[in-house]
C-alpha cells in the first residue's frame, strides 16, 4: 500500500501515542455520557429488589441504608422502607456460606413485627434444577404446599429449619443442602434485624 509508514522508532511511538490518545479521549467522553444512566440503572435494580420484598413505601431506602459486619467480613445491609414517617418494613440483604457451592445472597423483607413479607434470591451458584428452585419454592401460594412457604412466618416463633431436621419448612425435593443454606441466610437476617430493633437505634 502506498505511503505505508516505516517501522522506525519515532513512527511507532507516535502512532501508538495518537491511537491511545484518541481511544482514551473517546472512552472518557462516553464514560461521562453514560455515567448517569448506569448509576440510575443500578439504583433501579436495587430498588426493584427492595420493592419486591417489602410493602409499599415512599422514601428512598438506599439512602437510609445501614449495615452490620458479619464474622466472615461481609456486610449485612438493611434498607428501612417507610411510608411517611412510619416504618412499614425492612429489606435485609443477607447471605450464607453453607450453600452447595459458594455464597448465596438473598434480599428478605421483614414487616415491623418480624414476620417475613417476601424474599428474592439475588445471587447463587447452586445446582441448576435443584438448588435453583429456591426462588419460587419458599414463596409458593399453593395451599397443598403450605409447609414449603416461609411467607408470613416469623422466624422468632416458627422453627425455620427443614422438616428433616425437625423444623417447620419442607425442603426442596432432592436439594436439602441448598434449602438448609437458604433458611440459614433468612435466620441470620432475622437475628441481626431483631438485634437492631431491640437496640432501638433505628
Amino acid at each position: 500500500m502506498a505511503g505505508k509508514k516505516e517501522s522506525t522508532f519515532i513512527n511507532m511511538v507516535l502512532v501508538l501515542f495518537i491511537v491511545t490518545l484518541v481511544a482514551s479521549a473517546a472512552l472518557g467522553g462516553l464514560y461521562e455520557l453514560t455515567k448517569e444512566p448506569i448509576a440510575a440503572a443500578k439504583l433501579a435494580k436495587k430498588l426493584k429488589a427492595i420493592k419486591e420484598v417489602v410493602p409499599e413505601f415512599d422514601n428512598n431506602p438506599s439512602e437510609e441504608m445501614y449495615s452490620v459486619e458479619m464474622p466472615t467480613g461481609d456486610l449485612l445491609e438493611f434498607y428501612p422502607a417507610k411510608k411517611g414517617d412510619e416504618l412499614v418494613g425492612t429489606a435485609v440483604k443477607t447471605f450464607t456460606t453453607n450453600g452447595f457451592s459458594g455464597y448465596i445472597w438473598i434480599m428478605v423483607g421483614f414487616k415491623p413485627d418480624g414476620t417475613i413479607n417476601n424474599y428474592s434470591v439475588l445471587e447463587h451458584k447452586e445446582t441448576p434444577g435443584l438448588g435453583t428452585k429456591m426462588e419460587p419454592w419458599f414463596k409458593t401460594t399453593d395451599p397443598a404446599k403450605a409447609k414449603c412457604s416461609i411467607l408470613g412466618k416469623n422466624p422468632g416463633t416458627a422453627n425455620l429449619t427443614v422438616s428433616k431436621d425437625g423444623g417447620d419448612i419442607d425442603a426442596i425435593t432432592a436439594a436439602t443442602i441448598s434449602s438448609r443454606a437458604f433458611l440459614d441466610a433468612v435466620q441470620t437476617a432475622y437475628n441481626e434485624y431483631n438485634k437492631q430493633m431491640e437496640g432501638g437505634t433505628k
Binding site: 425435593t173 432432592a174 436439602t176 443442602i177 438448609r180
Partner: protein, 331 residues
C-alpha cells in the same frame, strides 16, 4: 450369497468367538443382578428394564435404517446390553418418557454419532445416564425404597442412598460415627438392602456375574481388580488419616455404582484399553477419580463420571501401552 474369495492376512484360525457370543455372555452374567432388582423393586424394575431395552432396539433400528442408511445390525446384542445397563443405572420409578430420552441419547449420541458399535469413544449407557442425571436431577436422585416383589411402579416411598446420606450429613457438620447409625449394615448393603438405582444395590449378584464372566473368559480380571483395589487403598488411607471425616473402604466399595461400574461398565470392550497394562492404568484412573469426586466433589456418586473421563483417555493409553503384535519378537 458371497461368492468372492476372501483374501486376508494371518491369523487364519478362528477361535469361535463372535460379537454375539460375547454380548449374550455379558447379558447372562447380568441376569442375577437383574433378578435381584425385580425381587427388590417389583413391577417398577420390570417396567423400567423393558422400556429401556425396547427403546434402545427401536432407536438403533430407526437410526441405522433411516438416518445412517446402513445395514441394520440390531441382532448383535449390543443394544440389549446398553438397554439393561441403562435400566441398572436409574431409579426404578423413573417415568417412561425420561427412560426413552435416555435410550435415545445413549444410542443416538453415545453410539451412532460415532459410527456405531466399535467406533464409540464413550460407554453409551453411561452417556445416557449422565445426560439424564444432569437434565432431570430430581427424578434421577429420588430413589425408591425397596419393598419387595409387590412394590408398584409409581407412588413409591423414596429415600436417599447411603452415599448421599453421608455426603449431606458431613456437609451439615455431623460426625461420621453418628451418621453410620443411619445407614444399612455392610451385610445389608452387600445383599442389596438399601436405597439406590436398580443395578447398583445388589453387590452379591454383581459379584456372581463377575465370576461367571471370568470363568467364561469374557473379560479379564485387570479392570475390575484395578478399579476396586485403587478405591479400597485410597479410601483406606483417607479413613486412617481421619476416621471421622472419611468413610472406610468397605463402605465405599459396597455403595453407589462402584461394583456395577467396575464389573459391567468399565469392562466394555469398545471403550476400554486393549493391553493388560493399559487396562490396569485405566482401572486405577477410574478408581482414583471416583474417590476424588465422591469425597471432594459436588455429587455424592462419581463412578459414571470417572468411567466417562477415563473412556476419553483410552485412545491415548492404547498409543503408549501397545499390545505386543502377533508374532513379534521380544526385544
Amino acid at each position: 450369497m458371497n461368492t468372492k474369495v476372501l483374501v486376508a492376512p494371518s491369523p487364519h484360525v478362528h477361535s469361535g468367538d463372535s460379537i454375539q457370543k460375547n454380548m449374550y455372555g455379558v447379558v447372562f452374567a447380568m441376569l442375577p443382578a437383574l433378578l435381584f432388582s425385580f425381587f427388590y423393586f417389583g413391577l417398577g424394575a420390570l417396567v423400567v428394564t423393558l422400556t429401556a431395552v425396547a427403546s434402545c432396539y427401536l432407536f438403533e433400528f430407526l437410526i441405522q435404517k433411516y438416518i445412517l442408511k446402513t445395514e441394520v445390525s440390531i441382532n448383535d446384542g449390543s443394544a440389549l446390553i446398553t438397554g439393561i445397563l441403562l435400566a441398572f443405572n436409574v431409579p426404578s420409578n423413573l417415568p417412561i418418557w425420561i427412560i426413552m430420552i435416555g435410550a435415545l441419547v445413549a444410542i443416538g449420541i453415545g453410539k451412532m454419532t460415532f459410527g456405531g458399535l466399535g467406533n464409540n469413544v464413550f460407554n453409551p449407557a453411561l452417556v445416557g445416564r449422565v445426560f439424564l442425571l444432569i437434565s432431570f436431577p430430581v427424578q434421577m436422585t429420588s430413589w425408591p425404597v425397596s419393598k419387595g416383589l409387590t412394590s408398584g411402579y409409581i407412588d413409591v416411598e423414596t429415600g436417599a442412598t447411603p452415599l448421599a446420606i453421608i455426603k449431606e450429613g458431613l456437609k451439615s457438620g455431623q460426625s461420621l460415627s453418628s451418621l453410620m447409625d443411619k445407614i444399612p449394615s455392610n451385610m445389608d448393603m452387600f445383599l442389596g438392602n438399601m436405597g439406590g438405582s436398580m443395578g447398583e444395590i445388589a453387590g452379591a449378584a454383581l459379584v456372581l456375574g463377575l465370576i461367571y464372566m471370568l470363568i467364561r473368559k469374557i473379560i479379564t480380571w485387570h479392570i475390575p481388580v484395578a478399579v476396586i483395589g485403587s478405591v479400597a487403598i485410597l479410601t483406606g488411607i483417607l479413613h486412617m488419616v481421619d476416621p471421622e471425616a472419611y468413610a472406610g473402604p468397605v463402605f465405599h466399595i459396597l455403595t453407589g455404582g462402584l461394583l456395577l461400574g467396575a464389573i459391567f461398565m468399565a469392562t466394555d470392550y469398545v471403550t476400554s484399553p486393549m493391553s493388560n497394562k493399559g487396562m490396569i492404568i485405566y482401572g486405577v484412573g477410574i478408581g482414583v477419580l471416583t474417590v476424588v469426586i465422591r469425597v471432594f466433589g459436588a455429587y455424592p456418586e462419581g463412578v459414571s463420571f470417572a468411567i466417562l473421563i477415563m473412556n476419553a483417555f483410552v485412545p491415548l493409553i492404547n498409543v503408549y501401552v501397545k499390545p505386543k503384535r502377533f508374532g513379534e519378537k521380544r526385544k
